[in-house]
Each structure stands twice: as structure tokens, then as C-alpha cells.
């Protein structure tokens, strides 16, 4: 049975501490902020595809903090070159999840090109990510997520999922200034470190 995205994210949330920055794209972001309420959630990527680039900026800016990126297959396809950029920059502290439901869900539930055929783990491996994992069942994800989060980065995690429960899709919140102000205030207490 294919795992539900929200079930996967609930499992992940059990391994994310209160001081961890999580940057998330669109549908994953709406699921995530319902599951883990924290000012350190960053959901304002602005333009589709930019989540992985924000994540790289966070990872370079806080080299001593593990940065979690929750991308989608549609978002990644809009910035596929970021795989190569991230691999080249080689941040050891970045964990890049891609929840692949084969849909441009945020834009309307139409298939992404390559649905069911594209090997995102293979793309990440070929781009040069240090550690690459793939999951299509929740028990395997639950069993391995602890070690996945400790792997040497950049880490890529390809999860084949289907949509779970419906969560509020508050685009006004996502693009409004309040959530970014709250994030900016929350990250001031995080030391920048030296990598």
C-alpha cells in the first residue's frame, strides 16, 4: 500500500526537534504546518520550484544546523537544476525530501510529466547527492528515518506517496508577511556557526 503523505510527515515530525528549520513547498507545506506547528516552518517560497533554493540558502547560512526541505515532485521539476547546484555546493546539513504523488497538486490535480516513470532517486544520485534514499511504504520509512536524518548531506529522500487527509490551504498565510516575520524573529536565536 502506498503511503499517505501526511502519515509520512507525521512520522518525520517525531524526529524533528523544536529548534529545527523546515522549509516546505505548497501541498507538503499545508500538510506540514498542520502537523508540526512551529515558527521555524518556512513555507513562503514565493514561486513554485524555489523551495529547494531557499533550503540551500538556509543550509549555507546555518552550516551547523540540519535543514529539512520538504519538496514535491511538481516543485522539483520546476527547478530540476537545483539538484546539481545543491550537489555542487555540497551542504552536509541539508536533507531534501521529495514527496512524489505524480501530480501538480497545487496547480490542479493533473499529472506531472514522467509520472510513475521518472526515477528521482536516480536523478539525485547522478547529480551528486552524497546520500540517497527511496521509500514507498510507511513501515520502511518509520524504520529508517532516524538514520536518514543522520546521513551525510546533501541527503535526498524520494518518497512515493498519495494524498492523505485534506488540510487547510491558506495561500494568504503562505504569501502574507506575518509568517515570514514570525520566522525571522524565531531564527534570530539560532547561531550561524562555521560549518
Amino acid at each position: 500500500m502506498v503511503m499517505k503523505r501526511d502519515e509520512m510527515l507525521r512520522c518525520l515530525a517525531n524526529h524533528v526537534d523544536n529548534e529545527q528549520i523546515v522549509v516546505a513547498a505548497y501541498s507538503s507545506a499545508f500538510d506540514w504546518i498542520s502537523i508540526r506547528q512551529s515558527p521555524l516552518n518556512y513555507i513562503s517560497s514565493g514561486a513554485m520550484g524555489m523551495t529547494s533554493s531557499h533550503a540551500l540558502g538556509f543550509a549555507l547560512g546555518w552550516p551547523d544546523q540540519r535543514i529539512i526541505c520538504l519538496d514535491g515532485d511538481g516543485s522539483l521539476l520546476m527547478n530540476l537544476g537545483s539538484l546539481v547546484t545543491i550537489a555542487d555546493s555540497a551542504p552536509k546539513n541539508l536533507v531534501h525530501f521529495v514527496a512524489d504523488n505524480g501530480l501538480y497538486e497545487a496547480n490542479g490535480p493533473h499529472s506531472t510529466p514522467g509520472r510513475g516513470k521518472t526515477d528521482y532517486a536516480g536523478l539525485a544520485r547522478a547529480a551528486g547527492y552524497k546520500s540517497v534514499f527511496e521509500f514507498d511504504s510507511l513501515p520502511n520509512f518509520e524504520q529508517q528515518i532516524g538514520s536518514v536524518l543522520q546521513a551525510t548531506g546533501p541527503v535526498f529522500v524520494w518518497s512515493k506517496v498519495e494524498k492523505g487527509e485534506n488540510y487547510p490551504k491558506d495561500y494568504k498565510l503562505m504569501h502574507g508577511p506575518e509568517i515570514r516575520t514570525r520566522f525571522a524573529e524565531a531564527v534570530r536565536r539560532i547561531p550561524r556557526g562555521h560549518g
Binding site: S45, G46, A47, M50, L56, G57, G61, P177, I190
Partner: protein
């Protein structure tokens, strides 16, 4: 060096003086020799080579939250290709995105809006339509505008674009 010339070294000194530590780039023939080659050889900057120009907008935004200043360096074609990211992140989110954009094909001394190159001619009107602050850097005299513009961008959390109007040497 005459005031009609443009020094890449002076530009980099200004960028450094403004506290920029990260250069995010796609090569551009206008700036690659005078600026980018120096960046690649100068380990005082962290040089991030990106696959496509719009990535720099997201990376720069992410960096800014940690107080890390960066400069996005690419050609005007990259700016045109990145307009949606610039629209959303730089303008609507009002992030301190600093871009240095080479105007490949612009003739020195000819204002961009009077260029016989369509791509060059439309750059300033597009930035004006987007309500983006921009500064034309065409001679060493203009280089002094770089530090205050970057300082203002980070102080007020607003973007700025430097248009490089001739190849720095």
C-alpha cells in the same frame, strides 16, 4: 584608468565593503572576465555556481535570514528568465535581493533604453514596471553607488539591481 572605464576590482572591493560574502552566479560574457574570474579565484567570497539564474533569488532569500549578504550575478537574459521569482520573492515579499546584471550587447555610452538591441532596450522599462530600484554602473564614477545601495537593501529589506553597462576590466 580613465573614468570612462570600469574596474572589476573596484566593483569587487565595493561588494566586499558592503558585507557581501556569497556570490551566486551564472556566467555572463559582460562580467565574466572583470568580475567572475576574480570571484572564482578569491576565496574571501563563497562562490555558489547555480544551474539557472532564478535559483539565486531563492538562495539569496534563504541566506538573508541568517544575516548573510549575497549578490546574484548573471546576464540580463537570466534576469528576464527569473522574473517570476523576482516578482514574488524580491518584490512581493520585499526581500533584500541584490542582483548584478550584465547588459551583453549594450554599447558603452549609449543609454540602455536607446540601445538598438531589443533585449537591452526593455530591461529598464521592465524594472520600472516592477517598481524595482536599479542603478546603472557604466564607469568607475558609478562604483561608489554600490555600497550605499546594498546597505539600503539590507537595512530596509528591499531589492536592488545593478545594471553593468560595459565590460569591467
Amino acid at each position: 584608468m580613465s573614468e570612462e572605464e570600469l574596474s572589476g576590482e573596484k566593483i569587487l572591493n565595493a561588494i566586499r565593503e558592503a558585507g557581501v560574502s556569497h556570490i551566486l552566479s551564472v556566467p555572463d560574457r559582460t562580467t565574466e572576465k572583470g568580475i567572475l574570474r576574480r570571484v572564482a579565484a578569491d576565496h574571501s567570497f563563497r562562490h555558489v555556481r547555480v544551474s539557472k539564474e532564478d535559483e539565486t533569488i531563492g538562495i539569496s532569500a534563504g541566506l538573508s535570514y541568517s544575516g548573510t549578504r549575497s549578490l546574484c550575478l548573471f546576464q540580463y537574459t537570466g534576469l528576464l528568465d527569473s522574473l517570476n521569482a523576482v516578482r514574488a520573492i524580491a518584490m512581493e515579499y520585499s526581500m533584500p535581493i541584490c542582483m548584478m546584471v550584465g547588459l551583453l550587447g549594450k554599447k558603452a555610452g549609449v543609454p540602455p533604453k536607446e540601445s538598438d538591441n531589443y533585449g537591452i532596450r526593455i530591461v529598464e522599462p521592465i524594472l520600472e514596471a516592477m517598481e524595482m530600484k536599479y542603478v546603472l554602473i557604466e564607469s568607475n564614477h558609478d562604483v561608489k553607488k554600490i555600497v550605499p545601495a546594498i546597505e539600503e537593501a539590507y537595512k530596509n529589506s528591499t531589492p536592488v539591481t545593478f545594471l553593468i553597462g560595459r565590460s569591467p576590466i
